[in-house]
């Protein structure tokens, strides 16, 4: 009989957004995110109070993955940000701050949610149209004939991750490495549909960042039994490669956890070893120079192969299998018994030893155009190295996104201020007609536009953490920081001149249409990913609408 226990009634929250407790938690999350935003963002240290690993980071992915939210609405926002960064690798903090600001502003202005949702939807469509259109002033095309814009994109991404602890020289070095690795990963003479190549990342701890570099081909650990003499003995030219994905250890492990019953006179281990040696014989006969295996190779087989001048790489690991296949063109062999088919052999042009910092690695170079490269990243300690590895991986992804949409947005908060100015200008003149079309009152419309634009501006404001003012100029609507040394705006596109009128952000100023800059020689220094920011903007508005829509929370505490 089942135990009868009285169910506890569910805890209901009516109008959760007007609940002060929830609002407070929301403000806290917004504070965490906005203080971590940008190049001068403050680092966050996450640790468990029972001890263990301490993480220092300022990226949204690392931060939100480890911070557990108690409030279901915040949990939703956090998951949405994580899903966005999983797809686009960038602009996670932007999305989080913008969503939370939009919710707060709507709530503070006392807007009716259905009306606010309609207006936000309308505005985000207008933003999309503006950003995708030709007359957009905050978008620059990515020039693939020249690596400057690629490096600028990569550099702004790394610079906005202060937990990597890089100085400006190191930042420059790493961003050029990322651009280099990205260029390696594109097939040179591909026709039609093709996949990206692979970039394998190896981290080395305790070395200075300037030792990091990118190598074409694949770098693997030097096998224990390999000696320099073995490599010297190899002549130059193409080398034949065979790759096994099955374990060649000679154990009967495949069967699983069962009782074995063995007939008299049968020795399965010896049979297996003989089979392995037979395989070795065939490989030697086929003049194979490199014998690679994902798992363990039996020492006797290794010895036999080495005696015949074959280089053996064992314990390659699953992660390296795919790049290895791409590099050599070999097909992974999964059975011991049949002979190796001719089509399964691959080729390597060269292999040599490379020393990267403290480690010796064996470099394999492809025989034909295979877009595989290895990035060796060095950093002083483990935490920073982890952050650097993750940042580099993301930066490369962001560069790949430019192939789909070859644009970049102005960074440094200029896109936000420009967009806000444009939206205000566009909607103030036609307010009454649009409000009527959306079936809402004129004042509701004006208030919602104001809430939207001030949320965008708050994101630009969040870039500043040292208590300095943020300014906006009244001609181009770029963001400025009062700095005697800097002669340009935050993104570096507009140069300062004496008659440029500026006013602090979020103060009242007349609406104007931003003038787009033409015939300028200056290049923006800071660029953001176009695809990532566009998606972040859309998803943020949708999330805000969605959270505003929640009118009732029922918490089952059984």
């Amino acid at each position: 009989m089942s135990r009868i226990c009285k169910k506890k009634p569910a805890v209901c929250t009516d109008e959760p957004l007007s609940n002060s407790n929830i609002c407070q938690k929301m403000a806290l999350l917004r504070n965490i995110l906005s203080t971590a935003y940008g190049p001068t963002g403050r680092l966050k240290q996450i640790h468990n109070n029972v001890g263990g690993h301490v993480l220092t980071t300022s990226t949204s992915t690392a931060l939100l993955k480890r911070v557990d939210m108690s409030e279901p609405l915040l949990k939703m926002i956090s998951t949405a940000v994580q899903h966005h960064t999983a797809c686009y690798s960038d602009c996670g903090l932007f999305m989080g701050i913008f969503t939370l600001r939009l919710i707060e502003n709507t709530q503070n202005n006392g807007l009716r949610t259905a009306a606010a949702a309609k207006v936000y939807k309308h505005l985000v469509e207008e933003c999309n149209m503006y950003l995708k259109g030709d007359s957009c002033g905050c978008k620059v095309p990515v020039d693939f004939s020249n690596s400057d814009s690629l490096i600028a994109l990569a550099r702004s991404m790394i610079a906005s991750k202060p937990a990597c602890m890089l100085n400006s020289r190191e930042t420059k070095h790493i961003s050029s490495l990322i651009a280099q690795a990205f260029l390696y990963s594109i097939h040179c003479n591909s026709s039609g549909v093709s996949c990206f190549g692979r970039t394998v990342t190896i981290g080395i701890e305790g070395q200075s960042v300037s030792d990091s570099s990118v190598f074409p081909g694949l770098l693997v650990d030097v096998p224990e039994m390999l000696q320099h003499a073995d490599l010297e003995r190899l002549e130059s030219g193409l080398f034949k490669v065979v790759l096994f994905s099955v374990s060649l250890s000679g154990d009967i492990s495949e069967v699983g956890d069962v009782t074995l019953e063995i007939h008299r006179g049968v020795d399965p281990e010896r049979d297996l070893l003989q089979q392995l040696l037979k395989l070795g014989e065939q490989v030697v006969m086929d003049k194979v120079n490199l014998f690679a295996c994902q798992k363990v190779v039996h020492p006797i087989l290794q010895h036999y192969l080495r005696k015949h001048g074959v280089v053996v790489i064992e314990r390659l690991g699953l992660a390296l299998m795919e790049p290895f296949v791409q590099l050599t063109g070999a097909q992974a062999i999964a059975s011991l018994c049949s002979s190796v088919p001719v089509e399964a052999y691959g080729m390597v042009k060269e292999f040599c030893l490379q020393s990267c910092g403290s480690r010796e690695l064996l470099q394999l170079l492809p025989s034909k155009d295979a877009a595989v490269s290895t990035m060796v990243l060095c950093h002083r300690n483990e935490t920073m190295l982890e952050e650097l590895k993750m940042t580099c991986k993301r930066a490369e992804h962001v560069l790949r996104l430019t192939l789909r949409e070859p644009y970049a947005l102005l960074g440094g908060g200029c896109t936000e201020t420009l967009l806000a100015t444009h939206i205000t200008h566009m909607n103030c003149s036609k307010a009454s007609t649009i409000a009527q079309a959306l079936c809402i009152s004129h004042s509701e419309f004006i208030m919602a536009v104001k809430a939207f634009c001030s949320s965008l501006q708050s994101v630009a404001l969040s870039l500043e953490h040292d208590g300095q003012d943020c300014l906006i100029d009244l001609t181009y609507a770029h963001r400025w920081v009062p700095d005697i040394y800097s002669k340009t705006c935050s993104c570096g596109l507009v140069e300062d001149r004496s008659n440029l009128e500026k006013t602090p952000l979020k103060t009242a100023y007349h609406t104007f249409s931003p003038v787009s800059l033409e015939n300028t020689d200056s290049q923006p220094r800071i660029l953001d990913s176009f695809s990532a920011k566009l998606n972040a903007l859309n998803v943020a508005v949708e999330m805000a609408n969605f959270v505003l829509d929640v009118k009732y929370i029922i918490k089952d505490i059984n």
């Binding site: 169910k7 569910a10 959760p16 279901p72 939703m76 926002i77 998951t79 949405a80 899903h83 966005h84 999983a86 797809c87 686009y88 009716r112 259905a114 949702a117 309609k118 936000y120 939807k121 994905s245 099955v246 009967i252 069967v255 699983g256 956890d257 069962v258 009782t259 019953e261 007939h263 006179g265 049968v266 399965p268 049979d271 097909q331 992974a332 999964a334 059975s335 011991l336 018994c337 088919p341 089509e343 399964a344 079309a437 079936c439 998606n535 859309n538 508005v541 949708e542 999330m543 609408n545 969605f546 929640v550 009118k551 009732y552 929370i553 029922i554 918490k555 089952d556 505490i557 059984n558």
Partner: protein, 587 residues
């Protein structure tokens, strides 16, 4: 055994509590409800039935109401929130009239009232709907046919969606659902298409997180949510093999206590057995293998060498579906293997994941639904599924009336005509099967019930008519003046309509319905669904009012077949509620 007396007061408070939860979700201006559990599960919904099901209802009366709601929703796929609002309004109406009389309702008199209301639903309601509302709807639609022609499907879909997702997502979702319907139907039989989509919806959609809803799209072919393990671009149509078991000998599936006997040459034997199996595949000229389980590494190697594409870990229900729709040929010798012809195989990329896409010869399309976060996505998927349930109800009720019309006229041929998409929607339009949303049905019914001359029970009619107005009132709760505006305008229109009908002069333009938003065409909802709603509510009310007492027992209740009455077929465990007043006095 405890006895608990049930009074009208209890009914009102129980239904009122339920109403309180769902009234926030009503209409396009409503909000959604978020449920959370300590296990971390979250559910966000505006769907009335889901809200009620997720609440763990304790009170037996509430559970009975829930059963009625579910039965109604199963029939029409729509109107659960209105159900509760109307029920609560009716109960309050009864209570108020009792206050006015200053006399107490005895249980028999309540029962009597319930019976009378039920009678109203059988007679007056039927009359009003068939003779007054349907002609009105038909007239209305014919007046605006130039605007409605061709987009009636879109309008009914948006009528359904607008109460279930946020206002900003409704257009996007409507657009993609209509596109999906049109692509799947391809001017085939509309009724069949709808029921096909409705019954196989789980295979015909794929969900993607991390993107805005605007990225939702319709993709040709059947999308399978896993990537090819071995991929070679096949040219043109290919033969595919569907597998449900692994090629390799696996001991894990057999059980734990087994022993393996190793003989001489065991290595070669297992190897050659596998080889034989694989060679037989090549004889069949198979270029694609779809497997519901993981295959051993050697099969992958074989596939790579022989340029066969291999897809592993496919949902076996989806494979069944594929073999059903594309007339699979079942192989005789190895069991559980099917051969199908595929038009093409592709790889599609959806937000960073690569999925397989199979083209069948039947025009198959997959609906890709995107949303920023999983809970949100769930809501959208659920709504999309509900749309097709609603459409199925709409098309089927139309077919039923069509069939009954045909049987009445002997001249019509007996062959079941195949309705094309245009025929079906045009037919529904002309027959007056739809009305604009936003309280039009309620206004009409209210008006006609009050003015029914030859009604035998004016008191019940008035009760029902007053309660009906609560729906539009809640719909415009944020703007009460709007409600009054709409009501007066409607009454003016109606008077004009009556006048012209008597004089048989030219029809004036009926402006009603367009008053909601001057520029756009209103969304539509089904008249039969609405009628069913009123009937279901009155039936539920009848059941509620007939309960005299609740007996709490400890022993499990078993209702044998002999105790089944015609009304409680779906009520296996709810016996005590049915003990009506006479029974309770016996105990």
């Amino acid at each position: 055994m405890q006895e608990e007396c049930v009074s009208l007061q209890v009914c009102v408070s129980v239904v009122g509590a339920l109403e309180c939860v769902v009234r926030r979700c009503l209409g396009p201006d409503g909000g959604s409800v978020l449920f959370t559990r300590d296990t971390g599960e979250t559910l966000i919904t505006r769907h009335g039935q889901r809200v009620l099901r997720t609440l763990h209802l304790q009170h037996p009366m509430a559970r009975m109401v829930l059963d009625c709601v579910c039965a109604h929703a199963k029939a029409t796929g729509d109107g659960t929130k209105s159900f509760l609002l109307l029920l609560a309004a009716l109960l309050r109406g009864i209570q108020d009239s009792h206050m006015q009389r200053k006399g107490s309702w005895s249980i028999p008199s309540l029962q009597n009232l319930a019976n009378r209301l039920l009678a109203v639903s059988r007679k007056e309601l039927e009359d009003v709907v068939t003779h007054k509302i349907t002609p009105y709807a038909s007239l209305y639609c014919s007046h605006h046919s130039y605007k409605l022609e061709g987009i009636i499907l879109d309008l009914s879909i948006s009528g359904y969606i607008s109460g279930r997702v946020g206002i900003s997502q409704a257009d996007v979702l409507k657009r993609v659902l209509c596109e999906f319907y049109h692509k799947v139907s391809q001017d085939q039989n509309a009724v069949e298409t709808i029921s096909f989509i409705h019954s196989h919806f789980s295979f015909l959609h794929t969900s993607v997180t991390g993107l805005p809803i605007g990225c939702s799209e319709v993709i040709e072919g059947l999308v399978v949510t896993c990537d090819w393990s071995v991929w070679t671009e096949p040219a043109g149509s290919v033969k595919a093999l569907i597998l449900y078991e692994s090629f390799g000998a696996s001991f894990v599936t057999v059980g734990e206590n087994i022993s393996v006997c190793i003989q001489k040459d065991y290595l070669h034997r297992t190897e050659s057995a596998m080889k034989q199996k694989l060679a037989s595949l090549l004889d069949l000229q198979v270029h694609v293998v779809l497997s519901s389980v993981k295959q051993p590494e050697s099969v992958l190697q074989w596939a790579r060498l022989n340029h066969v594409s291999l897809l592993e870990c496919v949902d076996s229900a989806q494979l069944d579906f594929l073999s059903n729709i594309s007339a699979a040929e079942t192989l005789s010798h190895p069991p559980l293997q099917h051969l199908v012809m595929l038009k093409y195989c592709r790889r599609v990329q959806l937000s960073g994941h690569r999925y397989a896409c199979l083209g069948t010869f039947l025009h198959m399309h997959t609906l890709v639904l995107c949303a920023p976060a999983p809970g949100f996505l769930d809501q959208i998927v659920c709504v999309s599924q509900g749309v097709f349930a609603m459409l199925q109800h709409l098309s089927q009720s139309f077919c039923q009336t069509l069939a009954s019309d045909q049987s009445q006229s002997p001249s019509s041929d007996q062959s079941q005509s195949v309705l094309s998409s245009q025929d079906l929607w045009g037919g529904i339009l002309r027959a007056g099967g739809v009305l604009p949303v936003g309280g039009m049905f309620e206004f009409l019914l209210h008006h006609f019930l009050l003015n029914e001359r030859n009604s035998c029970d004016p008191e019940s009619c008035r009760l029902l008519a007053e309660a009906l107005l609560c729906l539009p009132r809640t719909l415009y709760s944020h703007n009460h003046r709007r409600f009054l505006n709409i009501q007066t305008r409607f009454l003016d229109d109606l008077k004009q309509w009556d006048k012209t009908k008597e004089q048989r002069s030219e029809m004036p333009e009926l402006k009603f319905g367009f008053g909601f938003s001057e520029s756009s065409v209103p969304c539509l909802e089904s008249v039969s669904g609405k009628k069913q709603l009123v009937v279901s509510v009155l039936q539920c009310l009848h059941r509620l009012l007939c309960v005299g007492a609740i007996l709490n027992t400890r022993c499990p209740l078993r209702t044998g077949p002999q105790t089944h009455s015609e009304e409680d077929e779906d009520e296996e465990e709810e016996k005590p509620k049915h003990s009506n007043s006479t029974q309770s006095t016996d105990l």
